[in-house]
Structure formats: C-alpha cells, structure tokens
Symmetry: C2
Subunit: 339 residues, 2 copies
C-alpha cells in the first residue's frame, strides 16, 4: 500500500520527469517567463484558420517537441494522458491523434496538468509502463469564444477576471533517467463554496486549493517550511488572497514561498491580465518552462497545485454554483533537498 | 512490469468488481435489459427542472445506490473516476460532488466507462488504494440538445443514427471481496478513418474497436473462442457490420459471441432506436446490470470494449473528421472459465 493518508500516495519508485516541452502564445512569450519557453508563436494562430485548430496545433507541437528533445519515438511511450478546456477535450484529441499513443483523456478543468501528472506517476510507480506523456493546454481566444463572449464584442472584464493562458505544456515521465522526481501526490476532492460569479474563478477554486494543501500537510507531516515553492495553478490575485485566509483558518500560516503560476507567468500590471493567468496551460507551461529547469539544475522542492473550476456555460446559465478541484504534486529537484 | 504487450496489462492481483449500480431512463427500462436495472426513472427527469440536472441526479443516484448496496461510506472509497458527454463533464461533477471522494474526471466520450475501469483497476493493482468507484452516464435529451437539435424541432434522424442512452452505471472495484475480476486491460489509441458524418458514429468508432480488439488478441494470444462475450459499447448495427469487416481484414473471424451493448439494451425494431443505443451510459448500464449479474453468478469471460467518438459541435462545424477510441477490459466470472 502506497497510501500514507486518505488522499496522499508516496511513491516507492518516484517517477522522473526527464524532459518537458513548453509552447506559448505571444503574450505568454512576452511575460516574465518568456525566456524559459521552448517555442513561442508570435501570432497565437500556429498557421491555422481557427483558434480551436491553433489550440490543437499547440498540443501537437508540444508533444512533438518533447519526443524530439527526449530522442524518443511515439512507440516508445506507454501512455499519453492529457486534456484541455474545449468541449469534449477536442484540442488534445485532435492535437495528439497522429502520435497513436495509448490515450487516456482527462478533464479536471485548469487542474488537468496536475491530474495527468498524478495518474501518470501512479501508472509508472504501479508497474504499468516505463514512459508516459502528461500534457495540458488552453487558448485565450478559443476559451473566450466558448465560455464567455466573442472577442470582437470587446466586452469589458471585471478586475477579478483572469486571463486564459495560450499554450501547451507536455512532460515526459520515466521510471529511469535524470531529472526532478515526483515523490508524492495528494488527490483533490470537489469542493463547492457556492460561488456563482463566472468572472471570479479564483474565488471558486481557492477552497479546493486550501483543502488539498491542508490534506497534503496533514498527511505528510510537512508545512510550508518544507517547500522551496508551493505553487497553485491559476488562482490569481483574488484567489490567492482567499487561499491565504482559508489556510490561516485551517491553522497554517502561508509561507512566503506560496505563489501562483497565474501570477508568475504575466507581469499583470504591465500586461493588463487583471487578476492573473488561468487555464489548463497556466500550470502546465509554468512548470514545463521555469520550475522544471530550476529543479533539473539543482536543489529545490516544489508542491505544484493545479486548480480547476468545474463549470460550463449551461451550468452557469442554470444558476448552479462553480465547484473547484485541485491536486497537489510534490516534485523534488535533482540534488538532495534542504532549506 | 505488468505490461504483456504495447497496449495490454495483465494484473498481478486482479481487482474485483464487488458491486454495481445501474440507473436507467424510461425507454431503457422498457427494453430487453430493463428487468436487470436497479433503478428506473419513468419520467427521465429525476424530479429536476432540466435534462442536464436530471443527468447529474442520475450520477448521484447511481453512486449513492452503489455505496448503499456495498454498505460502505464515501470515506471508505479511495478514488472516484468518471465522466459523461456534457461539456466539461458537468453531469458527473455536479452529481458526485456531495460524496467528497478524491476525484479524477475522465473524458473518453462513450468509451469513458472503459477508461474508468482501466485506470481504476490499475490504481488498485498498483497499490494505491483498496476501493475505487468507476462511473459513466449520459442522457438522451441533454445530448440531443447539446450535440444535435432541440427535441422540440422533431428533426428526422437517418437510419445510421444511434440513440443516446439515458442512465448512469457505477461499479465498485476492490482489492478484496467476491465478484467478477478484471484480469487484463488493453488501452486504445485514437484511430481516425476520416468519417465526417456525425449521424453515423458507429462508422467513426468501428476502426478504433477493431484496432483494440486485434491488439488485445495479438498481445494475449487469445481469440473470440476464449470469450463468452466480446461486447463493444455502442457501435450499433452499422458500426458492428464495419467492425466485422475490419476484423476479417485483420485476419480474425468474428465469433458468434460478438455483440454490442447498444444492440442488447434496446429492441431496436420495436423501440425505434434506429441503429441502436449509444452514449457513455450504454456500456456502463449494460455492464452494471446484465453482464455483471451473469458474471457474478458463475462462469463466463467478457471482453468489454466501450467505444467513443471524439468530436464536438465545433470540430464538426469546422469540417474535421471524427476520431474514435476504444478500450478493452477482460472481466472473468466468479467460477473458473471454460467454453
């Protein structure tokens, strides 16, 4: 039994994240993490005729780049796990189909990269393969069109609104090799605090992030002091404030190393992203660029907590609340960790 | 390593399907398998004010019934894996949130029940828990509204069209206990034969079903003679004919035990379901009612092959083809198998 608590598993053979690939849009490329990205498309269109096709092309590019960097063929990979925000996960399906890797489609909204890393690591540690690809992506224009308003309308966004990240992040997990290792995963529950404002996803997701971080600390006996970074997925400014409040209520003082991928990825004042970045790509490309390079070079321990808001346009139109979910993944740098 | 081929795993400790729960709509209840269902809603509405809410209520009912039958509390379950056809898997999210079980949302279109059984069995055999719930559902009215035309329009359906099954099937997998066992899973690839007719899902999915069945036979050394039933998810009449042709081309003569859940669930001539049943609930409630009871009582070996068509309305409007996927799950009856 590898479970050390109701929600947490500790791996006997921690899977290695040997390679990552990050594909980013123009705005993401111009942000503070731009220089860490593998590929930046200055048009966001990937030479495609629709935003949805561009989003698929980014998934294809990320997985293709990943195989290239790892010098592996698609046949060398046991499973591909991934998803996105488009209805019926179509960006991922159409992006990765040509690789013909046994496929598990996932939906965890913007927590999908965390879900993929969790299940991918469990499959490898469980002995079901040697190599899995985990990927997740989103596209600002495709998401606005599907979830909100056509861009051409120029609808004004409230300050609590986040900015869906354009890009795709793919990670190769292997049983052997060099790189940061996934040592623990804490799987989240659906948490619903009754938020109904679809322009305030941070508030909808913060309770799920607090819940899974508190579960992780409780079940591992760790605290913020045991991590170089605790990075939520896409809470943004509003959600991060709420998370801090909820952690305090849970008896934990948030450490200074608590951050949010949506706040790292953009210079939100200069780039006008309101509350910060969001979307499946937010945690995925932040990990696959910045955090991965840091952890692959040395010391460090990251608790990556991708966060998702589990709603659709129909549930909002029918007046339902927005449940959240988050998964916590502990990733250790290549050198032994110490504060 | 539990992999015996590029796509197939054989379990060292085959997980047991100890209990199942099947919730069905009126038409499904009136069909040939109606007497095997646990709960039939004669209104299809579950006392809800929308079809989407009714679909969620069916997921809630199925998981609730399952826990009741198993005499377990939600806290006794390590993970819940499930999904549905609604955008962003909302039926499952809103249906299961109250149970607060660590959750992995899945999207494999109508193959979702197979994806859930595959990953659920891998998590248990991998040592990550003692008990998982796998569930999948769909609703005719919610699916027609989302994917095709509002029902009130009375749009005529071509003979190749299938009928989305209303219901939800949930299965409890445990490491210990009595019941049919999952011995092997063969994970499918995305297969695209270039079908573009959204009213002919059977044709879009048949190549994926053939691909995974041929892979399963190749990697296990088995044939149709080794199975009491090989049951695809929802190919219907048109898709089943194509599957037989593709299997012949692959050098395998389809046995008389090849069937399709979509053909078992309805009396398609009398019930006017055109090519047969479809939807995530199709394989899920057919297994959770009929096949499970048969296997729980005695001899038998089932290869369950839930099939999914991976499209959405936007991909169809943009002229894209309909890729398919299918997963094969081998489930053994409680008594040792022989022909």
């Amino acid at each position: 039994m590898k479970k050390i608590g109701a929600q947490t598993c500790a791996f006997s053979h921690p899977p290695v994240i040997t390679f990552t690939a990050s594909v980013a849009g123009k705005k993401e490329g111009a942000g503070p993490l731009g220089r860490w990205m593998d590929w930046i498309d200055p048009t966001d269109k990937m030479n495609q005729e629709s935003w949805e096709k561009a989003e698929s092309a980014m998934a294809q590019k990320a997985v293709g780049l990943l195989l290239e960097k790892a010098k592996k063929r698609a046949e060398d990979v046991d499973y591909l796990l991934g998803g996105d925000l488009l209805n019926q996960c179509s960006a991922t399906v159409f992006g990765v189909r040509e690789f013909a890797i046994p496929f598990f489609g996932l939906f965890g909204a913007c927590s999908t990269f965390g879900e993929a890393l969790s299940l991918g690591a469990m499959l490898l540690d469980g002995g079901f393969g040697k190599r899995v690809i985990c990927c997740a992506g989103s596209h600002f224009c495709a998401a606005e069109k599907q979830f909100r308003f056509p861009l051409g309308m120029g609808t004004q966004r409230p300050p609590s609104a986040t900015w869906t990240v354009t890009g795709n992040g793919a990670a190769l997990l292997e049983t052997e090799g060099e790189g940061p290792r996934i040592t623990h995963v804490t799987t989240g529950k659906i948490v619903d605090y009754g938020i109904t404002d679809a322009a305030n996803m941070g508030a909808a997701m913060a309770p799920a992030a607090a819940d899974v971080i508190l579960a992780h600390f409780r079940e591992t006996g760790r605290t913020f002091a045991d991590y170089t970074w605790v990075a939520t997925g896409d809470l943004g400014i509003v959600g991060k404030q709420l998370l801090c409040q909820l952690l305090e209520e849970g008896g934990i003082t948030p450490g200074e190393h608590l951050t949010d991928c949506g706040l790292e990825l953009f210079d939100h004042a200069a780039q006008d992203t309101h509350a910060g970045g969001s979307g499946c790509a937010c945690a995925a490309i932040t990990y696959c660029s910045y955090f991965h390079r840091k952890l692959a070079k040395g010391r460090g321990r990251l608790l990556l907590v991708p966060t998702g808001a589990l709603m659709n346009t129909t549930t909002s139109q029918q007046g339902l609340t927005i449940p959240g979910i988050a998964h916590a993944i502990c990733i250790e740098g290549v050198k032994p960790w110490s504060m």
